[in-house]
C-alpha cells in the first residue's frame, strides 16, 4: 500500500508517501525514527495489522513548514529521512 501523508493547499502539494510493503519488514531498523530532525515518523499498527511507519498526525498538516529545514535551500542535498530509509519506502512529492 502507498500511504500518502500531507496535503495540497493554495501554495502547492506537500506529501510524504510511504510504501508500506517495503516498510513492513524494515531492513534499516526503523532508521527513519531517529533520522528526521523533527521526529515526525512513528511506528503504528495499520488497519491490516501490519507494523509500519507513518507521519504523526499534527505534522501531516504542516509538512511544508516542518520539512523546510531539510530542503535544498537550507543546505541539505539529500533528505535525512530518504537517506536513512535504505529499503526506499519514503518519497517526498516536492
Amino acid at each position: 500500500m502507498i500511504a500518502n501523508y500531507g496535503y495540497k493547499d493554495g501554495s502547492g502539494e506537500y506529501y510524504i508517501s510511504i510504501d508500506t510493503d517495503k516498510c513492513i519488514d524494515c531492513a534499516a531498523e526503523r532508521a527513519c525514527l531517529t533520522a528526521c530532525p523533527k521526529q515526525m515518523f512513528e511506528i503504528i499498527e495499520d488497519d491490516y495489522d501490519d507494523q509500519v511507519a507513518w507521519i504523526k498526525k499534527p505534522n501531516c498538516r504542516t509538512l511544508s513548514y516542518d520539512c523546510a529545514d531539510c530542503k535544498p535551500s537550507s543546505g541539505y542535498t539529500t533528505l535525512p529521512c530518504i537517506t536513512a530509509c535504505t529499503p526506499g519506502a519514503i518519497k517526498h512529492s516536492w
Partner: protein, 303 residues
C-alpha cells in the same frame, strides 16, 4: 478562572447548510433470524452514521449530524437505528468504530481508520470492480485506490484545508443563502458555464464570489464557478493516487450533482451508481470488518 466568555448564541436564522438526516431499514430481512449481527459506527466531524449488517449483508442505517461530543453522537446514531428495528445493544455481536471520532466510541470492540472502511464499504456498494474511491467528507477529502477485495493499495487524505470538503460547500451555501441540496441543480441553470473561481482557499473564494456577484454573475453562475473549482481540486487529488475505471464516490458531496458531474467530465469517467446512501460507506465498511472479525471469533470458539 476567566469564564465569562459565552459562545455567541445563534440568532433565529435559516440554516441553509443543513442537510437531511435519515434512517432506513431493509424490511425484507429479519435480524432475529440472523446468526451474526454487527454494527459499524462512523463518527465524522460533521455527520455520524450507524450501520447494521446481518450475516454480512446491509440491514439498516441511521445518518445524523454529529453533536458536541463523539461518544454521545455514536450512542445517538446507534439508538436511532436500534429503536427503528426493536433491537437492543446486547443483540449486536461486534461493533467497529471508524471516522474522526472512532477512538471515542464507548461500546466499540475495535477501531479501524475510515480509509480502510470506505474502501470496504465501496467494494460492497459498488461491487468488486471498484478501484478508485473518492470520499468527500465534511472536513476532509480522501482519494483511495483499492484492489478487487476492497483492500487499500494507495491513499491520501487531505484534512488540512477546507477547500474540496463539505465544509467549504456549506460556507458557499450560507453565503449564497441557498439550501445546500439545491446547489447542485442550480449550478446547471446557467447561460454559459463559467470558469472556476481562481482561489483555492475558501476564505478567498468567498470574497471572490462576492466580487463575481457584483460583476453581474447570477447566484447560479457563482455556484457553478465554485462547483467547478471544487471538482478541479478533488481531481488533482485523485490524479496523485492514479485514476482507474470503477470510480466510486462516497460521502455527503456525492449527493451534489453540481460537483459530481463536473468531476466526471474532467476525468472522462462516469461514477458508479448506487442505490444506497453514499454517506454510509464508512460505517458500512466498519460493520463488514466487524462481520469478518466476529465470524473469526465464532469459528475460533467453535473449534
Amino acid at each position: 478562572m476567566n469564564a465569562e466568555v459565552n459562545a455567541p448564541t445563534a440568532p433565529e436564522k435559516k440554516e441553509f447548510w443543513r442537510w437531511q438526516e435519515s434512517v432506513w431499514v431493509d424490511e425484507t430481512k429479519d435480524w432475529k433470524t440472523a446468526k451474526i449481527v454487527t454494527c459499524g459506527i462512523d463518527v465524522g466531524s460533521v455527520s455520524s452514521q450507524a450501520v447494521l449488517v446481518i450475516d454480512g449483508e446491509l440491514y439498516g442505517f441511521n445518518s445524523m449530524r454529529t453533536g458536541n461530543n463523539s461518544p454521545d453522537s455514536a450512542t445517538n446514531a446507534l439508538a436511532g437505528i436500534m429503536d427503528k428495528c426493536g433491537m437492543k445493544q446486547e443483540d449486536i455481536h461486534f461493533v467497529v468504530g471508524t471516522g474522526y471520532g472512532r477512538v471515542n466510541v464507548p461500546f466499540a470492540d475495535k477501531a479501524i481508520t475510515e480509509i480502510a472502511c470506505h474502501a470496504r464499504g465501496a467494494n460492497y456498494m459498488g461491487g468488486n470492480g471498484v478501484r478508485t474511491i473518492l470520499d468527500m467528507g465534511g472536513q476532509d477529502c480522501k482519494a483511495i485506490h483499492c484492489d478487487e477485495k476492497g483492500k487499500v493499495t494507495n491513499f491520501l487524505m487531505n484534512d488540512k484545508c477546507a477547500a474540496g470538503t463539505g465544509r467549504g460547500m456549506e460556507v458557499i451555501s450560507d453565503l449564497m443563502q441557498i439550501p445546500i441540496a439545491e446547489l447542485g441543480p442550480r449550478s446547471f441553470d446557467v447561460d454559459v458555464e463559467p470558469e472556476a473561481v481562481s482561489s483555492v482557499c475558501v476564505v478567498f473564494a468567498k470574497s471572490e464570489a462576492l466580487g463575481l456577484l457584483k460583476a453581474g454573475y447570477t447566484k447560479n453562475k457563482v455556484i457553478a464557478a465554485y462547483c467547478q473549482a471544487m471538482a478541479e481540486r478533488v481531481v488533482s487529488l485523485l490524479e496523485r493516487i492514479g485514476v482507474e475505471e470503477g470510480f466510486f464516490i462516497t460521502g455527503g458531496i456525492a449527493k451534489n450533482p453540481g460537483v459530481v458531474k463536473r468531476i466526471e467530465k474532467l476525468l472522462g469517467i462516469k461514477a458508479m451508481e448506487t442505490k444506497v446512501d453514499s454517506q454510509i460507506a464508512g460505517a458500512l465498511g466498519a460493520a463488514l470488518f466487524g462481520y469478518t472479525l466476529a465470524s473469526k471469533k465464532a469459528a475460533a470458539a467453535a473449534a
